[in-house]
């Protein structure tokens, strides 16, 4: 990414941050560290809560290279570092993009995990939570505030095949965040991996997801990304994501996705209850081929119209009434109210 392109992108982020109405919204979009930087530039006071987050981010930014050195020294075979620290290196300052873990793809995850445990890394979390997911149980090095997740696959969009690890390793480039011998995905691969990952969690949900994808994509030829997206079968995901980035972080017009259910991105605010429901119902239309998309959308709407498992009709109707009454209310506020009505989260 050229310095001027980076400047332009983050100037746009500054404008979005300035337009946001609350720190809560900025945290939700995970751009609060960028907000702190901007507020200081503008001479505004930075709340202590945010300073504490900055200190934590500074601590993790320093820990990443140290931890990667240990991991490289204690393991054999290629290590492909993705997301967090690799993207942070593309921000104006790595400490402006917080992260909690190191995501590393390896050819033999169990063997790498064993090597790291033998070297003194410790496993964290309930083992049952990490069965049948894309990474093994998180590891940590005592004293360092970062988890390490050894991946045997990627978080990917349901009903799509993810790319083979061999393809990712074949195109990999030297990592910017790690020592010699640590790799990172090629920029085109990284941009698509991030887009698919974000879409698998919740499509066009957070500003920081768009920034991350934008900084990765800025280092690749746009045509190369489109071709690769097509070969991975996620061309519609990419097209929707790229249009959203162009509209939110550039000077493009708002595509339909942003107008219908992702308006919150441009306003750097939380989705409303109505926007969230519309997204659940319709987002498949932006990803899947038309036949499958209509089936998926109908299925999502149908699922929203009947009670959840172990829920009675009276509870479902009460939820529906609350949703209608709260249509323009923040989603988290609505969820909190429902939890409170049920007697706690």
């Amino acid at each position: 990414m050229t310095t001027s392109a980076q400047h332009e992108l983050f100037a746009r982020v500054d404008a979005l941050v300035e337009g946001s109405r609350s720190l809560q919204d900025l945290c939700l979009h995970r751009v609060e560290l960028l907000a702190a930087r901007r507020w200081r530039e503008l001479g505004r006071e930075v709340p202590m809560e945010l300073v504490a987050r900055e200190r934590k981010a500074a601590a993790t930014a320093m820990a990443a290279p140290a931890l990667l050195e240990r991991i490289r020294a204690e393991t054999d075979g290629p290590l492909l570092l993705m997301k967090g620290p690799e993207l942070a290196r593309r921000y104006p300052d790595p400490a402006l993009r917080g992260f909690r873990d190191l995501d590393i793809v390896v050819p033999d995850a169990r063997a790498t995990q064993r090597q790291l445990v033998a070297a003194g890394f410790e496993e964290a979390g309930d083992p049952s939570l990490f069965e049948n997911i894309h990474h093994l149980r998180p590891l940590f090095w005592p004293g360092l505030p970062l988890l390490v997740e050894i991946h045997h696959g990627l978080k990917w969009i349901e009903s799509f095949d993810q790319p083979a690890a061999a393809q990712l390793f074949g195109a990999a480039v030297p990592s910017r965040a790690g020592p010699r011998g640590v790799l990172a995905p090629s920029p085109a691969h990284h941009a698509l991996m991030l887009a698919a990952h974000a879409w698998a969690h919740r499509p066009l949900s957070r500003l920081r997801d768009l920034i991350d994808i934008a900084v990765a994509a800025a280092e690749a030829d746009p045509e190369q990304i489109r071709t690769l997206a097509k070969s991975w079968g996620i061309q519609r995901v990419w097209a929707t994501t790229a249009r959203a980035i162009h509209a939110v972080l550039g000077d493009g017009r708002s595509p339909a996705s942003l107008v219908i259910w992702a308006r919150h991105l441009r306003a750097a605010r939380e989705q409303t209850v109505l926007e969230s429901h519309i997204q659940d119902w319709l987002c498949a239309l932006w990803v899947l081929p038309s036949g499958r998309a209509i089936t998926a959308a109908a299925s999502a709407i149908g699922a929203d119209l009947v009670p959840k498992k172990d829920e009675g009709w009276s509870s479902k109707l009460a939820r529906t009434r609350a949703s209608l009454a709260d249509a323009s209310v923040r989603k988290s506020q609505h969820d909190e109210a429902l939890d409170a009505a049920r007697g706690g989260p």
Partner: protein, 87 residues
């Protein structure tokens, strides 16, 4: 004698006037308050204990003896954690 931070083994960052340092070899963190950060900056520039005491006197207007005692304590703490060496 001049003191110097072990830059090969330490990373540090300053946030809102306070230093956070990480000693990579031991994975140990150190938080440094505002006055300590003044001394840290002076150490980066290459200072001895006398100069560090001057920094405190100049900034806080405290007595020389008090400043020297504070510096001695600060330097001892850094030394015990392996963060500084004598040049």
């Amino acid at each position: 004698m001049k003191l110097r931070l072990d830059k090969h083994d330490i990373d540090w960052r300053e946030v809102e006037g306070e230093v956070i340092a990480l000693r990579r070899s031991t994975a140990a963190y150190l938080g440094v308050n505002h006055s300590g950060t003044l001394l840290w900056r002076a150490l980066q520039a290459g200072a001895d204990e006398a100069r560090l005491a001057e920094v405190l006197v100049e900034h806080y207007g405290i007595a020389g003896d008090t400043a020297r005692a504070d510096v001695c304590s600060f330097v001892e703490q850094l030394r015990s954690q392996g963060l500084i060496q004598t040049a």
